[in-house]
Amino acid sequence: MSDDPSRSPAPSGKHLAAATVFIACVAGWFIMQLEVLGARVLAPFFGSAIYVVMGSVIGVFLLSMSGGYILGGWLSGSRHSQSALGLCLAAAGAWLCIMPFLIHPVCEGMWAAGLNEKWGSLVAALVLFGLPTVLLGTVSPTAVRWLTRQASESGRSAGMVLACSTVASFAGCVVTAFYLVLLSVRRTMLVSGVVLLALGGTVVLHAYLSARGRQRRAGSLEAPDAGSA
């Protein structure tokens, strides 16, 4: 089997297309959930003044998402884009699990370094939320890539992925702001981390099994040739 990068690593079939959109939605949800919880997490250390929420949190998220888009775009062209995506999701999940323990040391560290309110909140937001947001941001470009069978449909795939993931972001935003903030932030982060780890693990497993399946099919096609030599 030739290594045709436009064919081999992408999932195929309608149900797998749905799975792709689903993963994009999950990423969209968790990005916004993290953003809303992020503002809440920083408030005890940097206050609730306007520049903390709008400037630091939203600013860091926008920057990190763009970093994720670049990384995702690059990874989507690789043979191993499925495993790469799975690893990104799992790594984001792992970070969310440990993040509650990082909040206090990072934020207090800002104060100890003489940075407070504005710059402290910016750097703290970057350190705490930058990495998971970059990792979750890699999903959209990869999802668009997977859904695009021909170049002419790329606009439609992009529209579909972005629309669905943004609706999921809306849901994540509203549910978090209205309901999840009433619960323990630590527990919410842990549960979210576990969900992402499980999803990422599933994607990696699926990638591995698909690759094994292809290898076996390639092997069984060659056998008759070897036999008749």
Binding site: G47, A49, P100, V185
Partner: protein, 309 residues
Amino acid sequence: MRRLAVVLCFAAIAGVAAAGGEVDLALGSLVYSKDSLYHRILVYQSGSVVTLRFGTHGPVLLQSQVDTNDLPRHVQEYSTLAFCGLLYQPQPARALVLGLGGGVIPRELRHYYPQLQIDVAEIDPDIPPVAERFFGFRQDQKLVVHVSDGRMFIKKQQRLNPPPKYDLIVLDAFSGDYIPFHLMTKEFLEEARGILAPGGVVVANVFYDNRLFDAEVKTFTEVFPRCQAFFGVWTANAMIVAGGPNVPVLTAQDAATRAAALQAANGFTFDMRTVAARLRPGFAPEPRARVLTDDQAPVNTLRWQEAAR
């Protein structure tokens, strides 16, 4: 007679508000309004009485009210209640007030305690000019307003070398509509305790007609060994007074005696003995109430739930 007038005034406002009518009629005409970053600031004037309100769709809440012809008169009950802290710490040298509003509490403290050094932390930069223009509030060397989030101010004070120690900390930072959770948690109170002098007290203005009150009291008792509460009669305001082991626990008799001495010494325009009578000595926190933490503090939900007691 004055008390009756205040009651009728509140009844009128409550009645009009309940009817969904225009509250402005009872408070007078709108003389100033501004949309600041944090509030819709509204100032009304009726005769010589000036009222500060924050625009909200919820129940009518007055932030500050003064009679410009008679500034020393406390028009609202809650600003007299805030003096309950002096029953525990009669000679404060340094005070911190979180939340300015019309500036009645810091102004009155300054008036009766000329040697008292007062810091005020107010997050909204548009509020101090309003207090100065409409509510007879003045800053000077002994009364300084810092534009800052209250918790941030305390954090910065903690890091000064040497850190200041306050004898009186008044927490009055909420507009009543939206409550910033990070000023209500156990960790916040621990930070406040860190800049409290031995024998100093924290006085927190709270509303007692909702579940949040139980959670606040429980959180206070987690951080401070001494906690007592004074309950308003004309409004649902209460003052939680909390301090360290050096702070006395007052019986009704103790409070009355101390109040009489303070009234004689300072000649307050309100009656300190009335304030002392608002103490509920046997008051204890609701055992099943939640302790509010930085991790979990559903303040804005609890605030709208009816009190359990």
